[in-house]
């Protein structure tokens, strides 16, 4: 076994896995507070990339000399803010009126929302892939011997780490984070303690959507071709990552994303590239059969 090749695949896997982790966090947080799978989450990721695509020319107008790294950061933050807003709007319009309805109803609505976002985006920007502008120069980082680490990959891993620490701070150290955790334990008791559940749910959607938007922009740095259907496959894979880590469990989502990303690149590199999209489903089926609560999740008994 060639060690360089293995390390190379590992780095590719971690950078892919970071993206899955960022999206998976949104699934898992929403599942934690509302107990439902937000099917439209992959499309928020797509919207993030498209907001970046729309903002880049604006930035170029403001700074004709080129804004460099600050420009990239500004675009990342603006897209995250816009998607957070989208997340809140979607929750208010589509999911909030269905709060006490059966699960199937909400699931069908979520599928509808997902299709609607995709097809409206396609209506406005067209179905053909767009080239994302190169905001940070993509080149190999020197001094790593035979390993090739692109600046874009390093950016993905670095930004993901920063966001993960930020998220941990928000969830563990702030009042809103505490409310989120309380809500996922018991919504009724939580509202009796004076927590405004609706506001906490909105905040959770905003947080998850912002992370998905960041993932969308980061992916566009690395592989600069974006189209309205780009959210489908990563969306489903990130869901698998969330289930793998234990849905509802925040560190689990990050761990599941990394494991899925690394497994996928290893299978593609060593076994068969055609299996790229099948591997996630294989993992999902195995995990649901052997350990439905996921790697870090707790077993929950369903009661009548």
């Amino acid at each position: 076994m060639d060690l360089t090749l293995f390390l190379q695949q590992l780095i590719n896997g971690i950078s892919l896995g970071s993206i899955y982790a960022l999206i998976a966090l949104g699934y898992t947080m929403v599942y934690g507070v509302l107990r439902f799978i937000n099917f439209a989450h992959g499309d928020i990721y797509m919207l993030g990339a498209f907001f970046g695509f729309a903002l880049a020319p604006l930035l170029a107008q403001l700074f004709p000399a080129g804004a460099g790294i600050y420009g990239a950061v500004a675009i990342l933050l603006t897209a995250m803010a816009l998607c957070a807003g989208m997340g809140i709007i979607i929750e208010k319009l589509a999911y909030r009126p269905l709060r006490d309805r059966p699960r199937l109803t909400v699931l069908i609505t979520a599928i509808g929302v997902s299709l609607f976002i995709q097809n409206m985006t396609q209506y406005f920007v067209g179905a053909e892939p767009k080239g994302f502008p190169e905001l940070i120069p993509i080149q190999a980082i020197d001094g790593l011997g035979k390993l090739t680490v692109l600046t874009s990959q390093a950016t993905i891993i670095g930004v993901t780490l920063i966001l993960l620490f930020l998220l941990r701070f928000i969830v563990m150290k702030t009042k809103l984070g505490m409310a989120m955790r309380a809500l996922s334990l018991n919504p009724t008791a939580c509202s009796l303690m004076g927590v405004n559940n609706g506001r906490v749910i909105s905040f959770t959607f905003a947080l998850g959507s912002a992370l998905a938007a960041a993932a969308g922009i980061l992916v566009a740095f690395d592989s600069p071709s974006i189209d309205p259907m780009m959210g489908n496959t990563p969306g489903i894979k990130a869901f698998v990552a969330a289930v793998l880590g234990g849905i509802g469990n925040i560190p689990g989502a990050a761990l599941g994303g990394l494991i899925l990303g690394i497994t996928e690149t290893m299978v593609v590199g060593y076994i068969n590239p055609n299996l790229r999209d099948a591997i996630a489903f294989a993992i999902l089926i195995v995990i649901l059969l052997c350990r439905p609560s996921g790697l870090l999740g707790k077993v929950e008994r369903e009661k009548v």
Partner: protein, 334 residues
């Protein structure tokens, strides 16, 4: 029971009469009519799973693909030698017999795959099941895409066009009869019990996994039959024709018609087969603002709105209260 047989006989007669008239239709209307029958089979079959048993599947197109490709391959490879074997001059009769057999094999093949998929995945709760079935549907499509014998991405052409209005509407009537009789029988109460409360049903001694698997296999079987009809109607199959959005089409029919209402789902299947055609006609009208045309041509924009609005405003579907077929298969009580 008697009502059911009368319904079936009348429906088959009607299909036969319609078929006799069919030769005078122009090709476009004929095509739309056959598609209506096929969509009724798909939607009523899926309704057994979603509407009556409460299990959500997003992989219906995958099972349709299994039936379509199985029957297409059988026809392409064995029909000539079968006709030679019968040695009959009246080959229409024998080719229809062969067609029926091929449809059944396609349906059974899809049912078998449904069994293989259903046994592990139906232990899962609703939202997981949706994702797993979506995954299986995609896996079936990707497998076809990578199998050269099935034409891969080039597509597969079917040599004869055996599907006509009789087969399409006749089998739709059989589907309605079978699903309605199944659900209304004493045995079929189990499906409804599993839908309404799985844990309570288990406590009453109902083997919920068994009922879910049966519903899944029956739905897959009819999807396979519909696939076979589709293959021998369009005479050309591509893996892209059985993608996720095809599954969504069928789901929208069930949701719009009303989960659990056979009559409603039939009406929705008819409406949603005609609607894209009507929208296409509208989009070619003169004097239409330029922004409206792509909006009319993309049926998914409309379908997604249907899903959202129906769930928000009328979760029982447009025709959820229609119970035309609720007497089929029910025993007379004193």
């Amino acid at each position: 029971m008697k009502d059911g047989r009368i319904f079936l006989g009348l429906a088959l007669l009607a299909a036969f009469a319609l078929n006799a008239l069919g030769s005078s239709f122009n090709a476009y209307y004929y095509d739309v009519c056959v598609s209506i029958g096929i969509n009724i089979i798909l939607a009523v079959g899926l309704n057994l799973l979603i509407g009556h048993t409460g299990q959500f599947s997003l992989g219906h197109a995958g099972f349709m693909a299994v039936g379509a490709y199985t029957s297409a391959m059988l026809t392409n490879h064995f029909l000539p030698s079968f006709l030679r074997l019968t040695g009959s001059t009246d080959s229409t009769f024998f080719s229809h017999c062969f067609f029926f057999a091929v449809l059944m094999i396609g349906g059974l093949g899809a049912g078998l795959i449904g069994l293989l998929v259903g046994i592990p995945s139906l232990r899962l709760r609703g939202d997981y099941l949706a994702i797993v079935t979506l995954g299986f549907g995609e896996i079936i499509r990707v497998l076809i895409l990578n199998t050269d014998a099935l034409g891969a991405s080039r597509g597969l052409s079917v040599k004869v066009s055996s599907t006509d209005l009789f087969w399409s509407f006749g089998l739709a009537a059989v589907t309605v009869y079978v699903v309605a009789s199944l659900v209304n029988s004493t045995y079929g109460r189990g499906f409804l019990a599993v839908r309404d409360n799985e844990i309570a049903a288990e406590a009453m001694g109902i083997n919920s996994t068994k009922y879910k698997v049966i519903a899944f296999v029956v739905a897959s079987f009819f999807a396979g039959i519909a696939g076979g009809l589709y293959a021998h109607h369009k005479q050309f199959l591509t893996p892209e024709g059985f993608n996720f959005f095809k599954s969504i089409d069928v789901v929208v029919m069930v949701i719009l018609g009303g989960m659990g209402s056979t009559a409603g789902v039939i009406l929705a299947a008819i409406i949603l087969t005609l609607l894209p055609e009507f929208l296409r006609y509208l989009s070619h009208l003169n004097g239409l603002p330029h922004w409206a045309q792509p909006l009319l041509e993309n049926r998914l924009i409309l379908y997604s709105l249907i899903l959202i609005v129906i769930m928000l405003v009328r979760p029982q579907g447009l025709f959820g209260e229609l119970r035309w077929f609720s007497k089929l298969g029910r025993r007379k009580t004193q």
